[in-house]
Subunit: 342 residues, 2 copies
């Protein structure tokens, strides 16, 4: 391997018999350089494939054009969609994204944040874990003047802009759809109510019941801990075998609804008709299962996009931003599982 040392500013300067700073200025489009010099420099640079040494530039400017992204899980339809939104938006503005996953646990998140900070990211986009009730690892960013934007799963333990979906309204519309289709005994498989999203959806559920004069029963609300399929299955079994079974179930997320559906089918309940079912999040598979699952779309790409736009603006204006809460509207996707009660 011959010495492939890349040409540097200095090389060009020597070759053209000018100073390195002139070359730098010519290349970076300063106005105080003669057209002729600029032409010469650019031509030489082009010809010799000059590529600025990013490491040196970053070092000098002490910024990296890197933004950190932390999500609970990468293999997850909604989050992978937001990741895509973040990356594409960053790309447009000349930023790059370091993607990490917390595994939805506190320690994973702390580790991710530490290494991201260590890598010198210019800012952070994060959807916090279910266990994030302290926020020192986030405060560390702010202490270094690096902005944070939270999205989807957020915590109030840190001051930062937040981009969320209007969970309350989304849940309200979802439950209303069930009601409109004739269901009146509506159960809810919720998440941990300390988590904002879960709380919002729970409140939307309650409000919809109330507005339509339907009764709210504690025993129709089951809290999922891990938000997985088996919880949907087990809780649904429990509900349907109780002395006062519901005729519809609104689930915190599609995966849970899938578990619910599995039980309902195994126990020969007609869905829809006998039991109505509604998910949340609009996973890809919801369109393909049978019956197809009605759900609430969260526009993940747009959320990632919005959060990233805000972050990059903050980075550019050297600001940490306000405690703003941006609520994005959801979209009710009506499919088969919530169709008319028979």
């Amino acid at each position: 391997m011959s010495e492939k040392r890349r040409v540097t500013l200095k090389d060009i300067a020597i070759a053209l018999n000018v100073s390195p700073s002139t070359v730098s200025r010519a290349l970076n489009g300063y106005h105080s350089i003669s057209d002729e010099t600029v032409r010469q420099v650019k031509e030489y640079a082009e010809k010799h494939h000059y590529v600025p040494n990013t490491l040196a530039v970053n070092f000098r400017k002490s910024r990296t054009s890197l933004i950190g992204l932390v999500v609970p899980h990468i293999v997850h339809h909604f989050f992978s969609t937001t990741i895509s939104g973040v990356i594409e938006t960053a790309k447009k503005q000349g930023y790059h994204v370091l993607v990490t996953q917390s595994g939805d646990v506190k320690d994973g998140e702390i580790f991710a944040c530490r290494t991201l900070l260590g890598m010198g990211v210019d800012g952070l986009v994060i959807s916090v874990s279910n266990e994030t009730f302290v926020a020192e690892h986030l405060q560390d960013f702010l202490d270094e003047e690096k902005p944070i934007v939270q999205f989807d799963k957020i915590t109030d333990h840190i001051h930062s802009p937040k981009v969320v979906v209007d969970d309350f309204d989304g849940a309200y519309q979802a439950v209303k759809n069930l009601i409109d289709n004739g269901y009146s005994k509506i159960a809810h498989l919720s998440g941990r109510l300390e988590v904002k999203n879960a709380q919002g959806r729970f409140q939307g559920y309650k409000k919809a019941l109330k507005d339509h004069g339907l009764e709210f029963r504690e025993e129709w609300v089951k809290g999922c801990w891990d938000i997985i399929e088996s919880e949907g299955f087990d809780f649904t079994k429990e509900l349907m075998e109780s002395s006062n079974p519901p005729d519809a179930i609104f689930c915190i997320t599609d995966l849970v609804a899938l578990g619910a559906l599995k039980y309902l089918k195994s126990a020969d309940y007609e869905v829809p008709g006998k039991v109505g079912l509604m998910g949340f999040s609009n996973w890809m598979l919801s369109e393909y299962i049978s019956p197809s699952l009605s759900s609430v779309d969260q526009h993940g790409f747009e959320m990632g996009e919005r959060a990233t736009e805000i972050l990059i603006n903050l980075i550019k204006e050297h600001s940490l931003g306000e405690d703003d809460l941006i609520e994005m509207k959801t979209e009710l996707i009506v499919r088969q599982s919530s169709q008319k009660r028979l």
Copy 2:
């Protein structure tokens, strides 16, 4: 905001009245430093939250601990799984991952590679696009002594280790399963045969037919261009309405199988029984649809893991590696759609 300048080596040196190099050596565990000095330095560093400036370190060592990752799509169950594998493996070794997507088009891939190279990644893990028939943008990495490892979708236009799934064997086993279940007129919805994966699966399909004395008919093979659901639907319609319809279909990927299934159901073919169906890739949803879809799992996480291990080893030994081809075994996941022919 008070000046939060981080403490540097020099700060510590001055405070302790030693030289910066001593501090550097003490912190990095050189042997030629007295225990006492080491103790003092470490204590001071600890107390004042000394964090090495990664930018400076990277600049000095001219390496970033960054590896670039290019996949066709992020929102894709298989690829998001491989991304996860890459990231987790990199993390274990102290590397970070810049994730990009090519959109499965040449220009997107070239752009991604250029910016990754510009960011100074130490190496590249890539699954090339369907349009990658030239490889200058990859050669650029090798020219800078930065290793590349390809995975899943690979090209021979560049010398590098490659991690793939044994498509031939996977397809063979898949088709054999259909045959074992009594199907004998087996069609294949393939991909573009110039693409390695598609070719491998096609060959495995042919070999399985041949080994079991079944006829191979050109008109039973349909080439999907975009590998999307609608192609599965349309080609299946075409096949089933032809004068000599097949009794089973082996699809290049689950999404195509889903389209096929949609048509078969809409036209009231029993699946399985009347028509057998087999996918490839084992998407998450395949487990949940009805009938559940038999498929071939590609162990995406492990592929990402393996590719990354190889890459990091190459980086560490300053090598570009050989043209090795690592073939990972697939796993046949038998579900309902390929069950016995009636």
